[in-house]
Point group: C2
Chain length 418, copies 2
């Protein structure tokens, strides 16, 4: 999860213009009730300690970026032990299907396997009262554990859903992973099959309704380099970089929908008295609306090119710098109507459990389906937490069963109960 907590209110004005806003015809939301459902909700509350134990056990298996295989195999085994057909797909996603009736919708409920932590990180989890401390304990061991609890409740209660429920542990949600797991799911593995997508990611009781898209690049200026005095008069890659960043700094962006840009990391040069042969920067641009994000992207590229031309034109030299723009990651943006079917389903499910989930915009696995116009959102996993992406990450299990119940009830609302 790559979250910036902000209300989506500001972004709402953009909805009218978004082709994704209308998505699908409105559907009725019917949060299921009845004895079996109530028993299942009681079951996940009662067995929440077991869910927390699984959350810890999963988390103590390393899952560094691009190296989720060991945790994935363990996770697959846990679904298999519940009696579900579970497999690992070609990119490493764990997929466990629980079939519904033929012709009925397919609901995917997912958490992500990967963490931001490199190999060798101490992933031991410590308990202090209701607090769990450990890298990844909330983001997203919490989501992974909830999926298992939901699956167990459905099996134990012998609940037959109308639609098919597919539990998925995705790879590559974080950073350079660039959503590769969920991309594969929608582009290959389950292409055209998914009617609704839920990601359970992080802590609290909120909804990620809108997808913050991001365009991230590394820009590198290159030249022969030389001696700062002896070779003076040669275009300087660091100077070209400065010109580009100066231009980027003055780009104008709308505040509604929110559009942002930041040059985050710079690098270049070997010594104070050398003209560098290479200088690079990393830029991050984001918005929930793809149109202004694409416009910003185009102006960023123009700035990079213009800086190159300016620095080359500055000197009477045969040397010409070059520039390369390499993609770090592209995450598509998307918004949904505040009264979209899946949003109302999440809200109504929460209300049934006694809380009103706030909606935010963030960057999660749901970015991919939201951008495709498929009903999707990310819900928090309950409890409370902080320090995501840091070694000090923590999760408070107090009332965390509410998150598990919410996930279960939302899945049953979307899939329907026979």
């Amino acid at each position: 999860m790559n979250r910036a907590r902000l209300p989506v209110a500001a972004a709402a004005a953009a909805l009218v213009a978004s082709p994704l806003a209308a998505q699908r015809p409105m559907q009725n939301v019917a949060v299921p009730d009845g004895a079996r459902v109530r028993q299942a909700l009681e079951y996940v509350a009662r067995t929440e300690p077991q869910t927390v134990e699984e959350q810890i056990a999963i988390c103590q298996i390393e899952a560094p970026p691009f190296k989720e295989a060991r945790r994935a195999e363990d996770y697959r085994r846990r679904f298999a032990e519940l009696g579900l057909a579970a497999r690992v797909d070609s990119v490493g996603n764990v997929i466990a299907e629980r079939p519904g009736a033929p012709g009925e919708p397919v609901v995917v409920v997912s958490g992500h396997l990967d963490t931001v932590f490199p190999e060798g990180t101490d992933v031991g989890v410590k308990r202090e009262g209701t607090i769990l401390r450990g890298p990844g304990i909330g983001d997203d061991c919490r989501g992974l554990a909830i999926l298992l609890s939901v699956a167990r409740a459905l099996e134990q209660g012998q609940i037959r859903t109308r639609g098919t429920v597919v539990f998925v542990g995705t790879v590559g949600e974080e950073g350079a992973g660039n959503l590769r797991g969920v991309r594969h799911l929608f582009e290959r593995e389950m292409k055209g099959r998914v009617d609704a997508f839920i990601s359970i990611d992080g802590t609290g009781l909120g909804i990620t309704r809108d997808a913050v898209g991001s365009h991230r690049y590394t820009v590198t200026y290159r030249g022969p380099g030389g001696h700062s005095y002896g070779d003076f008069g040669m275009p300087n890659p660091v100077h070209a970089l400065g010109r580009a960043i100066a231009r980027i700094s003055d780009l104008q962006v709308p505040s509604t929908p929110k559009v942002t840009f930041s040059v985050g990391v710079i690098e270049g040069g070997t010594s104070v008295n050398s003209i560098a042969n290479e200088a690079s920067f990393q830029v991050d641009m984001r918005s929930v609306d793809s149109a202004p994000l694409d416009s910003l992207d185009a102006r960023f590229r123009a700035a990079v090119q213009r800086a190159l031309e300016e620095e080359n034109a500055r000197w009477r030299s045969d040397v010409r710098l070059t520039v390369a723009i390499d993609t770090i990651g592209i995450r598509p943006a998307g918004t949904q109507a505040a009264d979209a079917w899946i949003v109302r389903a999440a809200e109504e499910s929460g209300k049934r459990l006694g809380f009103t989930p706030p909606a935010i915009a963030s960057s999660t696995d749901s970015n991919i389906p939201i951008a495709l116009g498929i009903p999707a959102l990310t819900i928090d996993g309950g409890g409370n937490g902080g320090g995501a992406h840091s070694l000090q990450e923590w999760f408070d299990t107090k009332d965390s069963h509410l998150g598990t119940q919410w996930a279960l009830l939302l899945v049953l609302t979307l899939a329907g109960v026979r």
Copy 2:
């Protein structure tokens, strides 16, 4: 030695305006002749193999920046063994005096003890025919060995000089050393006593007549930093840095005298999606003429300040960035007339030995006396070489005795023979 090989012709136009050009009343240059001098010249040629052995032996004692003590003590001992009063001063310079007649000039002849190579560098010297390979073998083990040979020749030939000859091995000539050894010599140790200063540095048979001054700084922009999306709208230190470098890139400088500037190293940021809390760059500005260098320095500072103001003004935010300019090193600039007494002395000495030394501008220990208006220059140590400041540094001993003879004859010309 920190050399950019270029003819001083281009800088000559600045001489008229330089207060240092006139320096001292013109003196006659009389290159001494006579049997004793000729015998001494023959002696250093004959014992050149011993000089080369000493060059190697000295070089195989590490002398990293700010850690010249071990080589210094060895070097002091070598002068003491020749019968000279030799000591190590409070900053680590080795000083060995050979008194002349009272009231006569004091001539300092020096080499530098320090290298650019860090502790732990393999400083073993390899011989392949006439070629020596080893870090520092030319720069400046060559100069150090020549000083010993000159002292030995004077002692062995019982030559009485009119002036006092002071042999000095300086510390801190390279990089961050910032000429601290020679500074101490002129500001404290021998303040007001030096009438002429010769540094022997590097390889070849050229003269460094003009002192390339340099101003080097680290500029650091700081702010609280934050999340690229969540905290968007906060001034960004990397953006301020870009604005500063862009302004610096467009500074205009005269070509005669040559004035240069370069942003060499940049650093900042922790991740693509964070607003950095710190971003810094290192800048190098140089010239043989202090007036345009000072003007450039002032415009650089204005650019740094203006960039700060622009970035702070760009956003409606309570956050204000700050900036700090830290000095890496300041080396004073200075030029001398092409017919200055000490320059003619070096040229006439060379001609007597059969070669005409070309004059260049460079940054050496002589920067300090040249800027003070004291007759000073740096001569090469003979032979041939390359790869200075690299682990591949080499020195070719072919005809290297010419460098030793030149140094001897120049010392005798400046000090006079009784």
